[in-house]
C-alpha cells in the first residue's frame, strides 16, 4: 500500500520555522534588509495535467524586498505569523483563520501592523505556506496548526484513529458517520471493508442513502460534501484513493457542480502549491447530461423536472470554458457545452420526481449506482 504524503511531523515543521526565523534574524543582524523569494499563484507557476490535476511548476519567482515599506510590513507579518505557529505547535493547540486574525489584535501588534480585515491575515497564511517549503513543496497550513472549520462527513465500514487518538469505525460514529478531521493527513487508517466510496454533493441525498441502508447493501462508503468540499474533505478523498478505494462522485447536473467535481479531481489553481488535494482517479457518475438527454439515459423519464438555468448559471458555464481542468477534460467539457446549449440544469432531488412508492426508491438508487459505477469499471455487488 503506498502512502504518498503523510505530511511532516510537528518537530519537522518547528525546525523549518526556526530555520526561517533564524535566517531572517541573522540577515537583519548583519545589517542587510531581508529579501524573501516565493512562487506565487500566477498562471505561469501552475500547470494542468489530466492525470495529476493542477501542479505548481516554480516558473516565476516573486520577491519581497525588505527595503520597501510595504514589503517590510509583509515581512513583519510573516515573522509574527511564524512565531505564532511555532508557539501553537509547541503548545499542541490549533487555531482557526479567525483566531489568527485576532492574534493580530494584540495591542502592540495592532499598533504596528494596523490590520483591519481578516482577508489580510488570510493572505499572510497563504504566503507562509508558499515561503516555508520542504522537499520542493509547500507546507500546508494545517501542519502549522491553522485549520478552517472542518466540513463533510463519511459513513461506511472503515476503521481509523483520528487526532483524538481513539479507534473508531465510520459506520458507528453517529447518523452521518465520521465527521471528517481537519487534518486528514494525520489520520491513521486501520481497516477498509468497502469496495468504493461515493461522495454526494448534497447532504439530504447522502442521508437518504444511509437511511436506506445502501452502505451495507452495496459495501460502499457514503460521504457528504456539503456543497463545495473543503480542504479537509479533498485531502480525505485523496487519502482513500491512495488506499485504492475507487472514488465515485454524485453531484447535481449544473455548471457549479462541474466545478465541484473538477476541484476534487484536479485541485484548484490557487492551491496548486498544496499537495495531496487532487484525486485524479475520481469518477463523475452523475448526474450527467446523458442521464437526461442520452438515448439510454436512466433519467430520461424525469427530463421534465429540469429547471431553466439562471443568468449566473449561464455565466458560470461560460467561465467553465476557460478553466483548464474543465475545458481539457472531454467528459466535463461535453457536459458543459450541452448545458450551455439546452440552458437547463438538474438536481439530485430529481429522483423524487419519479413518484414511485417509496419502497421502490431504494431499488432505483441501487440500480442507478450499479449501472453508473459499472460504466466506470467499478463493480458493486
Amino acid at each position: 500500500m503506498k502512502e504518498v504524503s503523510r505530511g511532516s511531523t510537528n518537530a519537522e515543521v518547528l525546525e523549518l520555522i526556526d530555520g526561517a526565523l533564524g535566517a531572517i534574524a541573522d540577515t537583519i543582524e548583519d545589517g542587510v534588509f531581508p529579501e524573501i523569494g516565493y512562487y506565487g499563484s500566477s498562471k505561469r507557476n501552475v500547470n494542468y495535467k489530466e492525470n495529476q490535476g493542477y501542479i505548481s511548476v516554480d516558473e516565476c519567482a516573486s520577491f519581497i524586498d525588505g527595503r520597501k515599506v510595504e514589503s517590510a510590513k509583509t515581512i513583519a507579518g510573516l515573522v509574527y505569523g511564524l512565531t505564532q505557529f511555532k508557539e501553537h505547535l509547541e503548545q499542541g493547540l490549533s487555531m482557526s483563520l479567525r483566531d489568527f486574525y485576532y492574534l493580530h489584535k494584540v495591542k502592540h501588534v495592532q499598533e504596528v501592523m494596523k490590520i483591519s480585515d481578516q482577508s489580510e491575515t488570510n493572505r499572510m497564511i497563504n504566503l507562509c505556506e508558499r515561503v516555508i517549503r520542504q522537499r520542493g513543496a509547500s507546507i500546508p497550513r494545517e501542519e502549522f496548526g491553522v485549520v478552517s472549520s472542518p466540513k463533510g462527513t463519511f459513513y461506511g465500514d472503515l476503521i481509523l484513529s483520528d487526532m483524538s487518538g481513539k479507534r473508531l469505525n465510520c459506520n458507528s460514529a453517529g447518523e452521518y458517520g465520521w465527521f471528517i478531521s481537519s487534518r486528514p493527513f494525520d489520520v491513521d487508517i486501520h481497516d477498509i471493508n468497502i469496495d468504493a466510496a461515493i461522495f454526494v454533493e448534497k447532504e439530504a441525498m447522502a442521508r437518504n442513502l444511509i437511511e436506506l441502508g445502501l452502505p451495507d447493501t452495496l459495501r460502499i462508503g457514503v460521504g457528504s460534501l456539503f456543497g463545495q468540499p473543503g480542504r479537509n474533505m479533498r485531502a480525505w478523498i485523496r487519502r482513500l484513493a491512495d488506499h485504492e478505494v475507487p472514488i465515485l462522485v454524485l453531484v447535481d447536473m449544473s455548471p457549479w457542480s462541474l466545478r465541484i467535481f473538477s476541484t476534487i479531481k484536479s485541485n484548484s489553481i490557487e492551491l496548486a502549491n498544496i499537495q495531496g488535494l487532487a484525486t485524479p482517479q475520481a469518477r463523475l457518475i452523475g448526474l450527467t447530461t446523458d442521464d437526461f438527454w442520452g438515448r439510454k439515459g436512466l433519467l430520461v423519464d424525469i427530463e421534465h423536472s429540469l429547471e431553466a438555468m439562471s443568468t449566473s448559471d449561464m455565466k458560470c458555464a461560460q467561465q467553465n470554458r476557460k478553466i483548464p481542468s474543465i475545458n481539457q477534460n472531454p467528459v466535463l467539457n461535453r457536459q458543459n457545452e450541452a448545458m450551455l446549449k439546452k440552458r437547463r440544469k438538474g438536481e439530485l432531488e430529481a429522483f423524487k420526481s419519479f413518484g414511485y412508492p417509496l419502497s421502490e426508491l431504494k431499488q432505483l438508487y441501487i440500480k442507478y449506482l450499479k449501472v453508473k459505477s459499472n460504466e466506470h469499471d467499478v463493480k458493486l455487488i
Binding site: 526556526d18 526565523l21 533564524g22 531572517i24 534574524a25 537583519i28 543582524e29 548583519d30 545589517g31 542587510v32 534588509f33 527595503r67 515599506v69 517590510a72 510590513k73 515581512i75 513583519a76 515573522v79 509574527y80 511564524l82 512565531t83 511555532k86 508557539e87 502592540h108 501588534v109 504596528v112 501592523m113
Partner: protein
Amino acid sequence: MLTPKSYNSDITELSVSAWFYRNRTIAGFDNPARSLYVSIRELVENSLDACEDERTLPEVSVFLTSEDNETTDAFSTGPQIFGLVVKDNGKGMRKEDIPVLIGKMLTGTKFMLKQNRGTFGLGGSLALLYGQVTTQEPIEVVTGKQGEAFGHRIVMRLDIEANQPIILQEEMIRKAPHESGTMVSYKLQGDWIRSKKRIVDYFTQTAIIVPYATLIFETPDGNVLKYDRVIDSLPVSPKAMKPHPRGIDVELLKKMVSKTRTKNMKSFMNNSFQRIGKSIAQDFLAYSDIDPDRDPQTLSQNELVELMNAFESYSRFLPPSPKSLSPAGTEVLLAGVKRLSPEIVVFKQRSPNVYEGHPFIIETGIGYGGGLESGINIYRFANRIPLLYDEKSDVTYRVVRDLNLRNYGLRQEDPLAFVMHICSTKIPYKTVGKEYIGDVDIVRREIELGFKDCLREVGNNVRKRNRVHRQKKRESKLAEYYNFVAATLSSALKRSVTDSKLFGFDGGVSD
C-alpha cells in the same frame, strides 16, 4: 462757515478747500468710521514720505486717544471725539513752510511726475480740515529740522473760505541739533469700534511693505501695536522726470508750450520730454509734418490736437524711463513678508513695462507654510501702500483665481500668501475709491507672469521639502517594522536580535 461767496442770488463761487470739503467723500471722508481710518492713513503716509525723502529710516508713532471719558458702553454710542497725534523723524519743515504745506490745499511736494504714495495730494490737509470741522478745535504742529538748535510749535486753524491757515500761536522750542521730525496733533470725530479692524489691518500690512520702518500705534483701548524695523536699507528713491509724450493730454501740452523757454519745436521736443534725443525729435517732427524751426508758441489749438494724435501714432519713442519709479526690491519685500513667518518665500521683480505712457513695475511674491493660515491670502500694495478693500474686484484676485495651482504641486487649501506690489507714476485704479486695481491687460499679464515665476520656485521647494518629508516618513515606518520584527524574533528565538545595523543607530524609532 461754508457759505459761498455771492456774486448774485444765483451764481456762487467755491474756494478750493470749500469745494473739497463738500466733496470730501471722494477722498474717503464719508462717515466717522471711515474718516478716522483715512485720517490716520493719510498722516502716516505723509510721515513715511517725509522720512524717505530724507533717506532716513522712518520711525512713525501714532497715538489715538478717546476724549469722551464718560462713555461706558462702547457699542451703544455713535461717533466720539478722538485726539490723534502722529509723530515722525522726517526732515521737518521750515517755519515759513508750515502753513502752506499743511494748512493749504493743493500745495505740496507731490505734484511732480514721480512715484509717490499719496492719492490726491490733499489727504493730509483734508484730514486736518475734517478734524477742525467736526470738533472746532485748533491744530498743533511741532517741527524741527536737522542741524538747527530750535524747532517750532504752531497752533493754527484753517480758513476754508480763503484756503488759508490762521496762525493762533507760535513759539520756538529748544531741541538737540541732530533731532528732526514733525508732530501733528489735533482732534477729530471718529468711530473706533467700527474702524478698528481696518486700522489694525492697515498697520499690519504697512509693516509688511515698509519693513524698514518702525511703526508704533497706541489704540484708544490702551493696546500698543509695535512693529520694529527688520531691515536697515531703504528702497532706491524715485527721481522726478519730465513727461513722456504718451503720458500727457492736450491741456498739459498747452501748459508746457506756454511755459517753455525754447524757441523752436526741435529743442522743445528735446528739452520738455523724457527720452527724446535730437534724432528722434527730428524724425518725429518730419513724421508729423511740423517745421523744426517753428516757435512752439505759435501752434494753434488744432495743431496741438494734431500733435497729440501724432504722439499717439508715432512708434519710435523709447518707453518711459523707470527711473521715476521706486520698487520696494525683493530684499525689502522678503524682510517684510517675514512678519507673516512663512516657511518658504519667493519674490520676483518684473522688468519695467508701460501702461498709457506711464512706466510701472510689478513685484510679486509667494509665501508658503509656516505661520500662514491655510487657504489663499492675497496682499496687495500700490506704491508701497496697502490696498485693503474690494479684494475680489482687483485684478490680482482674478489672476490668482485663474492660476492652476496643481500644475505646481500645490493645492487651494495649502497655506499660501500671494503678495503683489505695483509701483507706477499712475496706478491704474479702477474707481475713485482707489482701493483696487483695474483689469488692464498689460498689468494683468505682468502680474500673472510674476506669480507663475514665483509658483515654479515655490512648487519646486515644496516638492523638495515633501520628498525629504516622505523619505523621513518611509525611514521611520521601516524602523517601526524592523523594530517589531527584531523584538518578535528575540522572544521567539530566545536570543537577542537587533536591527541597529540596518539603520545605523541604536534601534529606536526615529520621529
